[in-house]
Amino acid sequence: MAKIIGGITTSHIPAIGIAMDRGIEDTPYWKDFFAAYPPIREWLNEQQPDIAIVFYNDHGLEMFLDKKPTFAIGCASQYENADEGWGIATIPPVTGETELSWHIVNELVENDFDPTVCQDIKVDHGLTVPLSLMYPGRNYQHLKVIPVCINCERHPMPKPSRCYALGQAIGRAVESFPGDQKVVVFGTGGLSHQLDGERAGIINADFDNECMDKLVSDPEALTRYSNDDLIEIAGAQGVELNMWLAMRGCMLGNVREVHRNYVAPISNTGAGTQLLLPE
């Protein structure tokens, strides 16, 4: 059976991609942030996962408000990136996957999740920045990616508890897939930040650290927050925690944390990174 070998959480902010393009990872502002990644890259290199399930949100590249899915999953053999309007470089196509992804879709619908199924979508920085971080030099095309997009931009948004349950359903689907594929799961975005309004700029480092603790030991405690709670505590875009919860849901049982980093601010956010392995 296919196996989830680990879970990774990471920020996906565009400034990271821009910093990598400019080669300024070692400057005082960035070095503590980028220091988080070599151990994760090393682990990926040792483990050589076949497939990555990436939970991300689309910030208005593919999914405009005209047709905006609550949950969407890609079942394509390739995904293109494109101009997002404000200067992040477009990266080469991402390799997709069409067998496990359809199996996940079948299992999700069977288990009362009804995602939008996508055979041709562009993926934005929410997905491409994490891939670029894990595989410097954009050396990611050997990895087959299954994008899972969660609405974090327009209310109503799926609840934290629902995102966690979605992850659990995907985790069970992976476990029931015949094959010996090694699967890694990415929870991207977060942590606390607010881009909009007079309250723009709020960061809650204490809460972010608590989230990282709870993600390991008691993720269900985090599912008791509502999205309104997250806005209040962690800022309007603090709801991106939902993608971390979906990742954690996939891991089903207990996990151990083998690596963690937290730097705030990175751009306007608290930037957390974790590598979790199943126990």
Partner: protein, 119 residues
Amino acid sequence: MTEKKETWGTIKFDGPMATKGYALNKMCYSFNGAEGREEFKKDEAAYCDKFGLTPEQKEAILKRDILALQREGGSIYYLAKFAGVLGLNVQDVGGLQTGRTTEEFKAYLDSQGRGKSNG
């Protein structure tokens, strides 16, 4: 119905706001493409009219009034694309919304993280 919280300084981008701001957000969505950005720069008012913006939305675009654009239904994700056309980053936009200079806004961010222990 669950109890809905309101958070100070935050306009929740929900169904009514998405309805109010649809044309504005659609215009900003067009800034993903270089063609849209160039056409806007050539004649901003005409580009607003092409997308059917309300007079309030159009005025807020011409005045670069980010908070007014949110009150008129603009989503921050699409307004970020407008900010990109203007050559502004998210710290610049944070400053504009909070009455700070960009440097003051960055210092505010820092005071909640790395700069915390420095008082």
